[in-house]
């Protein structure tokens, strides 16, 4: 049973560029959440997608956007990259509603470096 798959594993971008990160949830999961983990910090919640809609959002600017596809996979887009966007981006999948807190599965992350 495949877990959460994220691609790419590493990425280097230049300031001002745009980036797209991808996530395939664990089989049977329908909800995808994205987290940003800066070096030496705990993960910070960016947003969550369910039924192809953004269900809730953390304290991140509009430069961060996402999408969920009918097969439950998801993309995270970041526009106008800043040096401070350098981080490990984690995707977590779960089942919807009250069960989500009980069964998050995290991917291994995408390491984004902005130069």
């Amino acid at each position: 049973d495949a877990g959460v798959t994220q691609s790419p594993t590493h990425l280097i971008k230049t300031r001002g560029q745009q980036v797209t990160l991808r996530c395939s949830p664990k089989s049977g999961h329908d909800t995808v959440s994205w987290y940003q983990q800066a070096l030496g910090q705990g993960p910070q919640f960016i947003f969550q997608y369910y039924e192809e809609e953004e269900r809730q959002r953390g304290n991140f600017p509009d430069r961060f956007s996402g999408h969920q596809f009918p097969n439950y996979s998801s993309e995270l887009n970041v526009n106008a990259l800043l040096l401070g966007d350098s981080a490990l981006y984690l995707c977590a999948s779960s089942l919807a509603w009250a069960e989500s807190n009980y069964g998050y599965t995290f991917g291994s992350g995408t390491r984004l470096t902005v130069v």
Partner: protein
């Protein structure tokens, strides 16, 4: 607002010694509590969780944690650590279907 404080950024310990990683949370409502482990260059793996019921929660790899509502704590313990336990440990709280993490504790196990 909910928040999580991990009191120790680093905990060095010798192999086979006991260890406690401390976590305090603040919340005005009931919460769900979690401990995750992150090995180098990997994602997060769930160690254990407290949702309700018994305040002593047993997890994987011999870890356990005790929920203390009066002290708003959820400390993680292991009676005898191994070299392979060297990793970053995160305490997290959840109420509205998202996780709020602490800043992490680096557990370093020495031979």
């Amino acid at each position: 607002a909910q928040s999580v404080t991990q009191l120790d950024s680093q905990v060095p310990v010798f192999e086979e010694a006991p260890v406690e990683l401390r976590c305090n949370y603040s919340s005005s409502v009931s919460v769900y509590l979690f401990w995750y482990v992150q090995y180098p260059n990997q994602g997060l793996q769930l160690l254990l969780k407290y949702l309700s019921g018994s305040t002593l929660v047993k997890g994987i790899n011999g870890f356990e944690a005790e929920f203390n509502k009066s002290q708003t704590s959820f400390h993680l313990r292991k009676p005898s650590v191994h070299i392979s336990d060297t990793a970053e440990y995160f305490c997290a709280v959840s109420k509205t279907d998202k996780l709020i993490f602490g800043t992490g504790t680096r557990l370093q196990v020495f031979p």
